[in-house]
């Protein structure tokens, strides 16, 4: 088992590097780097722009720039006036030490800004994930156990519909129904808030927080539950039709014991793997929800940065997202290998 873990870890590292190279190459294809705004300024002469270029390390070849981006350049000498004499050392620490650069827009460190918004996104998407698990797992299991019953057919049809529904349309319809149309019978105002995390200026109230959570969470939950319940249903069915289940029944086990002890345990393995593989969505999946419901999280940060072409910020979020995905897949593989010993020997 330990060998398997080490092997997978070693495989993950070149994957991370490969992803970072792809992203770095992509960002450098895009015109409009940090000096784009300066090239149009009349106060800066060409010489000064050159000096700035050298200071930022933009005159070096791309592979060197990549190393600088990864490991920083405070160990490298920088020659600002091109006369061959070192003037200063670099100031960047590099991604590996947590320095993701500075945002084009507001000159703040990228990592700081991401960390500011990340908790809000995790708050929203984490609760969504929990609700999805609570709803989808029982539905999927019951659907499989009572195959072809009215419950099963209803659930299957609904999940087909849920998977085909565009998230953002659902969000708009929810706002239309619960914010625009329906009114709170007590206060006369809208039944549910149309955006934001909490009512600005009001004191902290759990009910208020929950009110603000209902619509965005509902929007995210539908598609997810549809997908999970179908997946669970088919994996549970696969397990139920196995020979060892038939043996357990033939041996006289009560149906309940057969289900819980034998079937469920084995169906849980693909379920857990699926949870781990879907987990990164907590970090990366919030863009549309946060845009529609004005949620101050990382998704909206990404959207705003993309609109204003703030490449360092985009890079930072993408790297973070990729790291989460690679690590989650790693965890999924390890957990799967732990639960299903047959996998370890490949």
């Amino acid at each position: 088992m330990g060998q398997y873990i080490v092997r997978r870890l070693l495989q993950a590292i070149p994957m991370l590097l490969l992803v970072s190279i792809i992203l770095f190459a992509l960002i450098n294809i895009a015109p409009g780097g940090p000096l784009a705004q300066f090239s149009r300024s009349r106060r800066l002469s060409g010489e000064r722009v050159e000096a700035l270029k050298r200071q930022f390390g933009l005159d070096k070849p791309l592979p060197v720039q990549y190393i600088v981006w990864l490991a920083g350049n405070d160990w490298m000498a920088i020659d600002t006036d091109g006369n061959g004499i070192t003037d200063s050392y670099g100031t960047r620490k590099g991604v590996l030490r947590g320095d993701f650069g500075f945002s084009f827009q507001n000159r703040e460190p990228v990592l700081e800004q991401i960390m500011d918004r990340l908790p809000n996104t995790i708050y929203l998407m984490g609760i969504t994930l929990i609700v999805v698990a609570i709803v989808a797992i029982p539905i999927g299991i019951i659907s499989a156990v009572k195959q072809y019953s009215a419950f099963d057919i209803t659930v299957t049809t609904l999940s087909f519909m849920g998977q085909a529904m565009p998230e953002f349309w659902l969000g708009l319809i929810l706002i239309l129904v619960f914010y625009v149309t329906l009114d709170n019978p007590v206060t006369g105002k809208a039944l549910l808030p149309g955006g934001g995390m909490f009512t600005i200026g009001a004191e902290f109230s759990l009910v208020d927080r929950i009110n603000h959570l209902i619509l965005p969470v509902s929007m995210g939950v539908v598609g997810w539950v549809a997908w999970w319940s179908r997946f669970l249903r088919s994996s549970m069915l696969e397990v139920i039709n196995q020979d060892y289940i038939r043996t357990a029944r033939a041996k006289g086990q009560s149906e309940r014991k057969v289900l819980y002890r034998h079937a469920l345990k084995n169906a849980l393995i693909p379920l857990i793997t699926m949870i781990m593989i879907d987990f990164p969505y907590v970090f990366t999946g919030a863009i549309v929800v946060e845009r529609i419901f004005s949620w101050p999280g990382m998704g909206r940060l990404y959207y705003n940065s993309a609109t204003s072409r703030d490449y360092p910020m985009l890079m930072g979020v993408l790297i973070l997202g990729s790291v989460v995905i690679i690590l989650s897949n790693l965890m999924a593989d390890i957990i799967y290998a732990y639960l299903d010993p047959r996998v370890r020997y490949d």
């Binding site: 992803v19 708009l172 990366t284």
Partner: protein, 307 residues
């Protein structure tokens, strides 16, 4: 000639080709047939969009924000344009993008998967790493970045043709799934005896790849491509909704919804219809894909032969 009155001679059945078996199995799925009907209706109405007396892009401010009526079945938008016409033209765009994406996905994914699966060794290692790396990127985020960058680059093809741009963006992230599928097919069938026989007969690698092994993958590839169209429509409309997809004034279901957002409280029909179309298109495609998956399942077809 003595008449054989007590012997019933059954008429000769038409030859039982693979295609007819698949079609027969497909027909048995109520969901798939309904999906096919809906999709056909959708495609026909989208193709007939030109019949409408209204122009999708010329504004008519006098008539802005009309609610649905007999003259404007879906109402009009903020610039007075008929929403039904815009929805239908948007359908053309979305469906075109969907097919283009599948084309790109297959053109990249099938060769790469075939090479990785057939040759194995270091080719497989390298290609698998590329496939895995592409799959490790957060999808929507990367697509937004790519769309933004492609827009900044000065390529004339891309600047005039936002459909092509979107299709490229979507294709770049969809090919790995198909590649993995094809690779699995090749890994499975590479060792079959008929492949060895073909080699012994002197067939070139290319011929073996295309004629012997690849046909085994047609079933899953077809299913994956069909579902891929639905996925492409979903992602394209999401990107257009966020403003990184099809650019106005060209209508697309996604950007129609984006424009409808600010007027949600006053003119809700602007949001209801485009989204409804996306929903209908995708659900019918999913039903068809599901039916195809069952119809093309080789084990079930084998069972049918024994009937």
């Amino acid at each position: 000639m003595p008449k054989k009155t007590d012997e019933k001679i059954s008429p000769m059945k038409p030859p039982d080709t693979m295609a007819s078996q698949v079609w027969r199995r497909f027909r048995r799925h109520p969901g798939a047939m309904v999906g096919a009907v809906i999709l056909t209706i959708l495609i026909i109405s989208v193709l007939l969009a030109g019949l409408s007396p209204y122009d999708p892009e010329i504004s008519d401010i006098k008539n802005r924000f009309q609610s649905p009526s007999w003259t404007h079945l879906f109402g009009t938008d903020g610039l007075g344009r008929d929403v039904l016409v815009r929805v239908l033209y948007g359908g053309r765009v979305s469906l075109t993008v969907g097919f283009m994406v599948v084309g790109i996905t297959l053109s990249i994914g099938v060769p790469i998967g075939a090479m990785a699966g057939y040759f194995g060794g270091w080719i497989d290692s390298v290609l698998s790493k590329v496939i895995d790396a592409t799959l490790s990127l957060p999808a929507l985020m990367f697509m937004i970045l790519l769309a933004a960058i492609l827009r900044e680059i000065d390529l004339p093809i891309l600047k005039t043709n936002s459909t092509l741009t979107i299709a490229l963006v979507l294709g770049v992230l969809s090919w790995p799934t198909v590649a993995r599928l094809v690779r699995a097919v090749f890994l499975t069938f590479r060792e079959m005896e008929y492949v060895q026989a073909a080699k012994a007969l002197g067939a070139s690698n290319l011929r073996i790849i295309i004629s012997e092994i690849l046909p085994n993958g047609f079933g899953p590839i077809i299913v994956e491509s069909t579902l891929g169209i639905g996925y492409a429509i979903m992602e394209e409309s999401t990107l257009s909704f966020l403003g990184f997809g099809i650019m106005p004034p060209t209508p697309s279901w996604g950007n129609l919804l984006d424009n409808a957002q600010e007027h949600l409280s006053q003119y809700p029909w602007l949001a209801i219809f485009p989204g409804l179309m996306i929903f209908l298109a995708i659900i019918s495609i999913n039903f068809i894909g599901d039916g195809l998956r069952d119809a093309l399942d080789p084990y079930k077809i084998l069972a049918q032969i024994d009937e």
